[in-house]
Subunit: 355 residues, 2 copies
Amino acid sequence: MAAPSSDNPTIEWVDGSIRMIDQTRLPGEFAIINAHHVHTLVEAIKTLAVRGAPAIGVAGAYGVALATREFPVDRDRSAFDEAVQTIRSARPTAVNLAKRVDEVLADIRDSSLPAERAALQAADRIRDEELEASVAMGDRGAYFVLDLCDGGPVRAMTICNTGGLATVERGTALAVIQRLHELGHLTEALPVETRPLLQGGRLTTWELHRMGAPFRLMVDSAGPFLLSRGQADVVLIGADRIAANGDTANKIGSFSLALGARHAGVPFIVVAPESTIDMATETGTDIEIEDRGPTEVITAMGTPIAEAHTDAVNPAFDVTPAELITAIVTERRVIRLDQGDTLDRIDSLAPEDIL
Amino acid sequence: MAAPSSDNPTIEWVDGSIRMIDQTRLPGEFAIINAHHVHTLVEAIKTLAVRGAPAIGVAGAYGVALATREFPVDRDRSAFDEAVQTIRSARPTAVNLAKRVDEVLADIRDSSLPAERAALQAADRIRDEELEASVAMGDRGAYFVLDLCDGGPVRAMTICNTGGLATVERGTALAVIQRLHELGHLTEALPVETRPLLQGGRLTTWELHRMGAPFRLMVDSAGPFLLSRGQADVVLIGADRIAANGDTANKIGSFSLALGARHAGVPFIVVAPESTIDMATETGTDIEIEDRGPTEVITAMGTPIAEAHTDAVNPAFDVTPAELITAIVTERRVIRLDQGDTLDRIDSLAPEDIL
């Protein structure tokens, strides 16, 4: 099966339902979930069948459209509100989910169209925005990395899955790696497997293979060591929420790679759409970190890996402090945190002034 | 089944064979390997059925005794030498294996006893040395940690398995945790699972459960993040080889925890017997790091976790530079690397002068 594309989208609206690739089954099996009901969508978000901050933002947006059909506003407003709330809070860390749900609700309120039509228009617009953002991030990020790395070629370490499966197409950090590969400047990608749910192992290798890029997988804790041995030129990660000061919540393990990159003097770059920046959250300590319970940790691919009844800590995300981040690349700008740029300061510059 | 003890040893010599707990099967199954031939022992070392630097040192020592039976020196010296060489080089990173094999060979050479008798005497002595060392390290380490942590109680993070399974009984870093627990000063142990072979998940939880200590498991990359959130008071690791300058090779992931501990201002302590110190190796860059090939990385507990034919990097160990290590605790001394102690300088002090 091909990588996510317009022919084979990660998520789309089909005949009153949301059609999604079931990411819990990859790479072994390519399966589709059709959500006709809000509870199916919420379950898909909670179990990570659909995942990645931009993708769950789009899922949330279409989810509101689904709710308008299942719980018509003019019939029972509180049932609709409740359904939307279950979508909005299905996962707490990625800001995109709540933000995109709220955007669609605002569009419904402000529109003269019927609720479902207004919701669908808004969700389609959000989907298109994310796709355009991915293309722009890939391009901007690739040239920025080449600039930092004396023109390349580049060995790029990354974590989790930040490709087409995490967005609409192409992705965030993985879009940069894909663009480097297309430009002929990628020596190899070095994804870490990303325990406990192994999105790096399961999903990123699946996408890298489909884009024909050279890569080698490693366990998460090998990342900092290989950086110390000079085996990567850059670390590229996505983001689930970027606080106003630049602190970045992302998949657990990102912080370790940031420490490793700093120790090795390797640039550490966050690639995320503007929709992931949350100026209402002051610093990383204000970001709620989802703990997903012990089961994911005491098993691997469903097999027990510990003494029976073992308890576990399972933070799904960590926070990388701004001072360990070289730059944040969005679809509109490159914020050089290492040179004193701040998220608010260069907000008004036109893209051509920045890159 | 009880934790490793004199009734239930990790490794012992029984009627001309080496009896070992098969650590690849724990915690699901308690199985025993009886090695009557050198090749069975070598296979057990290579597959990590027996593992942990002190334990494979003891295995190597008894292995020489096995070789004297299978390849009598007076019949075919070169067959004996070859067999010993396969034991000596079964794994390259832990210095204990080659060192202990060489000690037994020297004893055979210098003894007037028949080779098998001389080898067994030497191996028994090495086993007893390691057991005494574990008891001493546990005690010395526990009081040292309490000293650093204002008397405790202590939340202790650790990696891999450094317990009775990795030694003869009790262990190195885990012996310190066990002693803290016995003294009533352990709040909880925080083992990381230790991909790819999950010794932290499979073996350390098995031992902690048997010693009745409170603990919570986590994925490897959660370690540095939890340290940054103030959730541990100390990091305790074992060692596979300590270079003359204090650089320490240990299970992959140790370096990440060291970076996390430094960032959080938490003490990072290496616990290892003197037999793990290799004054012939100048620095960490001179230590050979075993790469165990892609299979362990592209599977978890035998289940594929990546796109088919994925290549992987699989360093089994990393090197933590001396400047990130607070202290090294051995059965004889506490070397405060953070206070300028060096491995050679206080070598001649009597134990009572040090602690």
